[in-house]
Amino acid sequence: MGVMKRLTNIVQAKANKVLDKAEDPRETLDLSYEKQIEQLQQVKRGLADVATAKKRIELQAQQLQQAATKLQGQARQALAQNREDLATEALTRRSGIATQLEGLKTQHDQLAQQQERLEATTQQLQARVEAFRTQKETLKASYTAAQAQTRIGEAVSGISESMSDTGLAMQRAQDKIAQMQARAGAVDELLASGTLTDLSGSSDPLQAQLDKAAASGDVELQLAQMKAELNPAAQAPSGELGSGASEEPVDGEVVADKPVAPAPTPADPFSLDDAGGAS
C-alpha cells in the first residue's frame, strides 16, 4: 500500500476514536460541533504559545547581541593595549555567540512558519465551524430519509478527519516549541553562568587582565603627562590635559566602573587609547 493510502487510514482512525461515542447520528452531529468549537479554542491557545516562544527567542537574541557588542569592545580595548591574546579570546567568544544566534534564527524561522500555518488553520476551522453549524440542523431535520443518514455519516467522517489533521498540526507546533525551550534553556544557562555576559565582572579572567593592562597603561600615560608638565617642550600641551579631565566616562563602557587609577588627573580616553596602541 502506498504512503498516501496508509496516511489516510491513520488519520481517519485517529479521528473516529473521538466521535464514535454517540450512538444516534444526530447526537454525533452535535458532538462533532462541540468538538470543533473546543478545537478552535485549542488552536487559538496554540497560536498564543507559538507567539510566546517566538518572543523568548527574540529576547535571547537581543541579549546575545549585547554580549557580542561588549566582546567586540573588549577586543578593541585589548588590541589598543597590545594584548592580542586577549583580543583573540574575546573574538573567539564572540564567534561562539554568532553560532548561537544562527541556531536561534533557524528556530525563529520554524516558529514563524508554524505560526503562519496555525493562523491559516484557525481561519479554515472558523469557516468550517460556521458552515457546519447551519448544515447540521438541516441534516438533523431530514434525518429520517435514508439518504440523509448516509450524508450524516459522510459529514461526520469529514469532520473527524479534519479534526485529526488539526490535531496533528498542533502537535507539530508543540514539538517546535519544545525544541525551542530546550535550546532557550541552554542559552539561558550560558548567559547566567557568566560565560557570555559577565565579562565586566571581577570573576571574569579576560576582563581582569584587560583592567590590569588598562591600569598599567594608565600609569604609563600619567608618567608621560607628568614628564610633559615638568618639561613644557614635550608633546602633550597642558590645555589638552585639562579638557581631558572631564571626559573620562566616554571610555567607560568597560572600564569606567573600575577604579582604574589612583592618580588625581584622570586620563583622556582618546589619548589613553593612543598611548595603549603605541606602547
Binding site: 498516501m4 496516511l7 491513520i10 482512525a13 500555518r117 459529514a155
Partner: protein, 92 residues
C-alpha cells in the same frame, strides 16, 4: 477523488489525474525504504505541488472524508516515519 494535504486542507481531483500521483507515491515509498532524505523531499514537494495545481480546493462548507492523504509540506522523513509507525501501534 479527494486528497488531503495535512495541515493545508482538501483538494478534489479527477480520477484521471491520480495516475501520476500513484507513480510519485511509489517513489515516496522507495525513498522512505532507502532512507533517502533528499529524494523524499523532492518527491513530496512534487506531490504537494501537483495536488495543489491540478486539484480544486474543497470549500469549508463541504464535509467529506479523503481518499488519499499527503504529509505536511516540508515534513522530514523521520516525521513521516513516526506518523506511519502510529499505524503499527494501532494494529498491534
Amino acid at each position: 477523488m479527494i486528497v488531503r494535504i495535512l495541515g493545508e486542507g482538501q483538494f478534489e481531483l479527477h480520477e484521471s489525474q491520480t495516475a501520476s500521483l500513484d507513480e510519485l507515491d511509489k517513489a515516496l515509498v522507495a525513498a522512505i525504504d532507502a532512507n533517502d532524505e533528499a529524494t523524499f523531499h523532492d518527491v513530496l514537494s512534487r506531490l504537494v505541488q501537483s495536488v495543489r495545481s491540478e486539484g480544486a480546493p474543497v470549500g469549508p462548507d463541504r464535509f467529506v472524508p479523503s481518499d488519499l492523504t499527503l504529509p505536511h509540506e516540508g515534513s522530514s522523513l523521520a516525521e513521516v516515519r513516526e506518523l506511519l509507525a502510529s499505524e503499527d501501534v494501532r494494529e498491534s
